[in-house]
């Protein structure tokens, strides 16, 4: 794990915050020649005070426009050696920021968009987002006898972005720091739109002990809930972590209070969906996507 430590101590993120770990790892990979942009969310709180690099922020909807403006401004001034990074949450990427993301991806802007995904609007009390998984309990998707948490699956962001045919799409986890850092180091050298979707477990919102952040992240990867892969230019798909056998999803889900209400049937449904998806991913591993 090389790379200069750019993030300093003293952020106001929660104890055990996954975003804080992601921030340290990501900026090690980007280095000092980096400008980054923010939109509201926990990741703003995490990054806004203790990184000695130029950054600026805007409203949720404006994230795609802001980062596009900066990269084009730098290009107009002949500055080519800066990483221009959009460091937004799932709200700023999958929901309120999706339109700006899609526009920037269509224009293939020369930016690196990182989605720090804690799977709900954790900064405002934990409302569900488009990245919240099915059955997860949030303040807006409560669980009771008749309601079972969130009704539908989370948006498949990497494939939505990949359908825009951009320079790079990847997923990563804070429990696999070499994979995460390696993906950034590789993709930051590409010209065009780069997208990295990083799962960032949230002790406060998901309901687990702050000491278990890495454990939860690791179990979601090992169980296939959060597969690690990348889609490089030309839409070549490659799994970057292939366990011989997946762990049961129950190990990861059982640690999280947001899934406490799951019935056996519901756990089983998640298990078979994950199994089916994993099989599909293995089939296309090393192949080109059909668009």
């Amino acid at each position: 794990m090389v790379g200069e430590e750019i993030v300093t101590s003293g952020s106001t993120s929660c104890q055990g915050c996954g975003h804080a770990i992601l921030a340290r790892l990501a900026f090690k990979a980007f280095g000092r020649k980096t400008i980054f942009t923010l939109v509201p969310g926990c990741i703003w709180i995490t990054l806004s005070r203790n990184i000695p690099l130029f950054s600026t922020g805007t409203v949720f909807e404006g994230g795609g426009a802001l980062v596009s403006g900066i990269t084009n401004g730098l290009a107009a001034r002949g500055i080519e050696d800066m990483n221009v990074v959009a460091f937004y949450g799932d709200g700023g990427t999958a929901d309120i920021g999706l339109q700006g993301l899609s526009g920037a991806a269509e224009r293939n802007e020369n930016v690196f968009w990182i989605c720090a995904d804690n799977q709900a609007y954790m900064n405002t009390g934990g409302q569900r987002s488009g990245a919240t998984p099915k059955y997860a309990q949030t303040t807006t998707t409560p669980a009771s006898y008749i309601r079972r948490g969130k009704r539908t699956k989370r948006k498949n962001l990497p494939f939505i972005v990949a359908a825009h045919d951009v320079a790079y799409v990847g997923t990563a986890s804070i429990a696999y720091p070499s994979d995460l850092v390696g993906k950034i180091e590789y993709a930051k050298g590409l010209k065009g739109f780069k997208f990295l979707h990083v799962q960032s477990p949230c002790p406060t919102g998901w309901g687990f002990s702050p000491s278990d952040t890495i454990k939860v992240a690791r179990l979601t990867v090992q169980s296939g809930i959060w597969p690690l892969f990348e889609i490089t230019e030309g839409n070549d798909f490659r799994l970057t972590y292939k366990p011989r056998e997946l762990k049961p999803v129950g190990e990861a889900l059982g640690l999280q209070r947001r899934f406490r209400h799951l019935t056996d049937g519901e756990s089983q449904e998640i298990q078979s969906r994950v199994n089916g998806q994993w099989k599909q991913l293995l089939e296309i591993d090393g192949k080109r996507l059909p668009y």
Partner: protein, 267 residues
């Protein structure tokens, strides 16, 4: 009408405490309001809430600026938050503290009640969530609300075992609370911490056994706070910034790091 301000940290349940107190008052046929302070609630970060209890036509809808009572759920919080701000001269402080009222240092002669709510919470609930224990202390110290009403409010909030152990926390704190006069001093001195220190976010601190540490750097890799440095190939923690999350303890492959209670260090 009485007005109460509660101080806690994200995760200790200050907002829930304010709701329980307002519910208990309601159960006694009083009018009441529970008011959380708007803001982003981070686990470990300071949180404020308010309760107003009185008669219908005297209730205003505002934050509380001059409380009759201040309730503090965290034993270390008063080192960084001015907990007596605006407290009326005849007001009272209800503190989570393991020392008797007479050892609490204050600038003005407020009445003080203390209870080791953290100890009681760990004993009854197994977790340092002090909101129900501190309500037992409030009832004992102020007499403004009946013990039965608070217990009923707790039972309405949590069914089954969770309700029962919280009732135990209320009752144990009620028994253990002491009321008295503080020690009047010219200046209240907190720990001197560097700018941006998060030391006061901790209830527990990780301690490295340097004998066992193999220098594998995994704790350094995963630390969210960038407060672990490798010195002579051993992990050294900067306690000014450690928030006490415990990830290093969990991820250390040789069990070289342990969590120890901050209160064991005394106040």
């Amino acid at each position: 009408m009485i007005e109460i301000r509660l101080h806690g940290r994200g995760g200790q349940g200050a907002v829930t405490a304010s709701r329980l107190l307002a519910t208990a008052a309601f159960l006694e046929d009083k009018h009441s309001q529970s008011i959380p302070m708007y803001g982003t609630e981070r686990r470990g970060a300071p949180v404020t809430a308010f309760v107003r209890i009185g008669e219908k036509d005297k209730m205003v809808r505002s934050l509380i600026h001059e409380p009759d009572y201040v309730v503090v759920l965290d034993s270390l919080l008063r080192k960084t938050v001015n907990i007596t701000e605006g407290l009326k001269d005849d007001g009272m402080l209800i503190l989570n503290s393991s020392v008797p009222p007479e050892e609490i240092e204050l600038l003005k002669p407020y009445k003080v009640a203390t209870v080791d709510a953290t100890g009681i919470a760990l004993e009854t609930l197994g977790r340092p969530i002090t909101n129900t224990a501190i309500l037992g202390a409030f009832v004992k110290a102020t007499g403004e609300i009946g013990l039965e009403s608070v217990i009923e409010a707790v039972k309405q909030q949590w069914k089954g075992t969770l309700g029962e152990i919280n009732v135990k926390a209320v009752e144990a704190a009620y028994e253990a609370t002491e009321v008295g006069d503080p020690k009047i001093v010219a200046e209240v001195v907190g720990e001197k911490a560097p700018a941006g220190s998060r030391a006061d976010w901790r209830t527990f601190r990780p301690v490295v056994d340097l004998e066992k540490c193999t220098g594998c750097r995994l704790c350094w890799v995963y630390c969210p706070e960038h407060c672990i440095e490798m010195v002579d190939d051993k992990s050294v923690i900067d306690y000014a910034y450690c928030k006490g999350c415990g990830i290093c303890v969990e991820e250390c492959p040789v069990g070289a790091i342990e969590m120890k209670s901050e209160s064991e260090r005394g106040e």
